[in-house]
C-alpha cells in the first residue's frame, strides 16, 4: 500500500476526483491548504498599503492505493491536474505499514476501500 499526497491547484479538484474514481479509487481525504514553491505570489493592497502574498491557496488530496495501481493512478492524477504552467503542484509518495477499517476491523489492502 502506498499513500499519495497530491498538492494541486484548487480549480483542478473536480478533475482529479473524477480521474481517481476512474482508476477505481473513490476514497480520498481533501484539505484546503496554503503553500509556496516555484510559483510567484501576488500583491494585495489594503487601504493603499501593499502586502506581498506568497503563500498560495492549494488543495491537498490524500489517497491510499494498492501497490500495483500506483503508476496508473499517478499518471491519471498528473493528466487531470496539469496545465503546463508553474504551480501545478506535486505528488509525494509514502509507504503505508497497514490500514484498519474501523467499522469491521478488517486490515490490509481490503481495508482501503
Amino acid at each position: 500500500m502506498v499513500k499519495l499526497e497530491c498538492i494541486i491547484r484548487p480549480e483542478k479538484l473536480d478533475a482529479v476526483k473524477d480521474a481517481l474514481a476512474k482508476t477505481g479509487n473513490p476514497g480520498m481525504t481533501v484539505s484546503e491548504i496554503k503553500g509556496c514553491g516555484l510559483q510567484r505570489g501576488w500583491k494585495e493592497v489594503y487601504r493603499g498599503v501593499e502586502s506581498s502574498i506568497n503563500l498560495l491557496p492549494k488543495v491537498k488530496i490524500e489517497v491510499v492505493v494498492k501497490d500495483e495501481s500506483v503508476d496508473q493512478v499517478i499518471q491519471h492524477i498528473c493528466q487531470a491536474a496539469r496545465t503546463g504552467e508553474v504551480g501545478d503542484g506535486k505528488i509525494f509518495i509514502y509507504p503505508v505499514a497497514n490500514s484498519v477499517r474501523i467499522r469491521t476491523g478488517e486490515t490490509g489492502e481490503s481495508a482501503i476501500y
Partner: protein, 440 residues
C-alpha cells in the same frame, strides 16, 4: 335656525378656548410636536445601530484571532456609556452651565429631565428624547477610538479608559460645543452633528492611544490583513444608514433642515467613496471594495459638522476632498510617520473631521439654516477663524486629556497585552472564546 344657534353655542366656547390656548402657548412652555418627537426617537435608534455597524466595520479589518475582542469594544461601550449617561454623563454635557466649561450635576440621574421640552435642546420634543438622541452620540464617539488600539489593549484597562474618557473628554467637549452656555457655542463655532465633538475628539484620542500603546508586535514586518472584508462592507452599510439619524436627526425636528441634512449626507458619502476609489486606482492600480467602504465613511465624517449649513452642491466638494485626503492620510502619511493607528480612526475621523469642521467655515450659508452663519465663500471669512478655534481647542483638549488618562490608567493596570497574549490573540486570552470554530 335652532340648529344654527346650537352650532354657534358650541363654537363660541371652542373659539375662546383656542384663542386663550394660543395666548398661553406664546408665553409659556413650548408645545411638543408628535412628528418631531417620532423623528428624533427614530433618529436615536438609527444612531444606536451605527455602533454594532462600527463593530462589524472594525471587526472585519482585524485578524481572525482578534475579531471578538474588537466587536466587544463597541458592544461594551454601548452598555457602559448608556449607564454613565443616565447617571451623570448627560448632566455633565448638557446640564446647567458652569463657567462655560461643563454642565452642573443638577440633572444627576436625569432628575428634572422629563417629558417637557427644554427650549435650548429641541423646543418641540420631550427632553428625554433629546437625552436619548445625544446618548447615542456619546456611545459611538467612544467606540470610534477602538479602531486605533485594536489588537493590543488589555480589556480591564480598556474599560477604565473608556469610562474616564467619556466622562472627562466627551462630556465637557459636548458641553463646549452644544451645551447652552458652552464657550465654543457662544463663540459661534458651527458643528451641526459632531465634527469636533465626535470625530476630531475620537480621531485625535485614537492617535494618542496608538502612540502611547505602541505598535502591534510584528507591525511592518508581517502582514496584518483584514480577515473579513464583507464584514467591513456590512458595517459601512449600517454606518451609512444610521448616519441619516445622526445628521438629519440633529435638526431635532422633522423639517426642511432635516431633509437637507439627509441629502447632503448621502451625497457627500457617495462623492467621497468615488474619490477614494479613483485616487487608489491611480495610486495603486486597482479600485478596492475596502477603499469604497472606507471612502464612504470618510465622506460621512466630513459632512457631519456641515450637514445643517451647506447645500447639496457644496456637499459634493466636501465629499470629494474628504475621500482624497483621508486616503492619502492612511496610505502615505501613516506609513511615513510610522504610527500604528490599526484601523485608521485618526486617518479617517481625525483628518476627515478636521476637514469637515474647516469646510463648514467655507461653505456654510444662512440660506440653508437661518440660525447658522455664512462661511468664507458666502461673504463671512471670519467664520473660518472661528472654526479654527473650535478645531484647535478640540485637538489640544482631546490629545492632552487622553494622554493623562492613559498614564493614570497605566498606574492602575497594565495597558498593553503581553507578547504571548498578543500572539495568541485577544479573543482567546482576554475573553476565552473564539469567533470561528475549527471543525463541526
Amino acid at each position: 335656525m335652532k340648529k344654527r344657534l346650537i352650532w354657534a353655542g358650541c363654537l363660541l366656547p371652542l373659539l375662546w378656548l383656542a384663542s386663550s390656548g394660543m395666548a398661553w402657548a406664546a408665553d409659556a412652555a413650548p408645545k411638543i410636536d408628535s412628528g418631531d418627537t417620532a423623528f428624533v426617537l427614530i433618529g436615536a435608534a438609527l444612531v444606536l445601530l451605527m455602533t454594532p455597524g462600527l463593530a462589524f466595520f472594525y471587526g472585519g479589518m482585524v485578524r481572525r484571532k482578534n475579531v471578538l475582542s474588537t466587536i466587544m469594544h463597541s458592544f461594551i461601550i454601548m452598555c457602559l456609556v448608556s449607564v454613565q449617561w443616565v447617571v451623570f454623563g448627560y448632566s455633565l454635557a448638557f446640564g446647567p452651565d458652569k463657567l462655560h466649561l461643563i454642565g452642573s450635576l443638577s440633572w444627576l440621574g436625569l432628575s428634572g429631565v422629563g417629558f417637557a421640552p427644554n427650549p435650548n435642546y429641541g423646543p418641540t420634543i420631550p427632553q428625554l428624547a433629546f437625552m436619548a438622541f445625544q446618548l447615542m452620540f456619546a456611545i459611538i464617539t467612544a467606540a470610534l477610538i477602538s479602531g486605533s488600539f485594536a489588537e493590543r489593549f488589555r480589556f480591564p484597562a480598556f474599560l477604565i479608559f473608556t469610562l474616564l474618557w467619556t466622562t472627562i473628554v466627551y462630556d465637557p467637549l459636548a458641553h463646549w460645543v452644544w451645551g447652552y452656555g458652552g464657550w465654543l457655542n457662544r463663540l459661534g463655532v458651527l458643528d451641526f452633528a459632531g465634527g469636533t465633538v465626535v470625530h476630531i475628539s475620537s480621531g485625535v484620542s485614537g492617535l494618542v492611544t496608538a502612540l502611547v500603546l505602541g505598535k502591534r508586535r510584528g507591525h511592518g514586518k508581517e502582514p496584518m490583513l483584514p480577515h473579513n472584508i464583507p464584514f467591513v462592507v456590512l458595517g459601512a452599510g449600517l454606518l451609512w444608514f444610521g448616519w441619516f439619524g445622526f445628521n438629519a436627526g440633529s435638526a431635532l425636528a422633522a423639517n426642511g433642515l432635516a431633509a437637507n441634512a439627509f441629502v447632503v449626507t448621502n451625497t457627500a458619502a457617495a462623492a467621497a467613496a468615488l474619490a477614494w476609489v479613483f485616487t487608489e486606482w491611480i495610486h495603486n492600480g486597482k479600485p478596492t471594495m475596502l477603499g469604497a467602504a472606507s471612502g464612504c465613511v470618510a465622506g460621512l465624517v466630513a459632512i457631519t459638522p456641515a450637514s445643517g449649513f451647506v447645500n447639496p452642491v457644496c456637499s459634493i466638494i466636501i465629499g470629494l476632498v474628504a475621500g482624497i485626503i483621508c486616503y492619502l492620510a492612511v496610505s502615505i502619511m501613516k506609513a511615513r510617520l510610522g504610527y500604528d493607528d490599526a484601523l485608521d480612526t485618526f486617518g479617517v475621523h481625525g483628518i476627515g473631521g478636521t476637514w469637515g469642521a474647516l469646510a463648514t467655515g467655507l461653505f456654510a450659508t444662512t440660506a440653508i439654516n437661518a440660525s447658522g452663519r455664512n462661511g468664507l465663500f458666502f461673504g463671512n471669512p471670519g467664520q473660518l477663524g472661528v472654526q479654527l478655534i473650535g478645531i484647535v481647542a478640540s485637538w489640544v483638549f482631546a490629545a492632552a486629556v487622553t494622554f493623562i488618562i492613559l498614564k493614570v490608567v497605566g498606574l492602575i493596570t497594565p495597558l498593553r497585552a503581553s507578547e504571548e497574549e498578543e500572539l495568541a490573540g485577544l479573543d482567546l486570552t482576554m475573553h476565552s472564546e473564539r469567533a470561528y470554530d475549527f471543525i463541526s
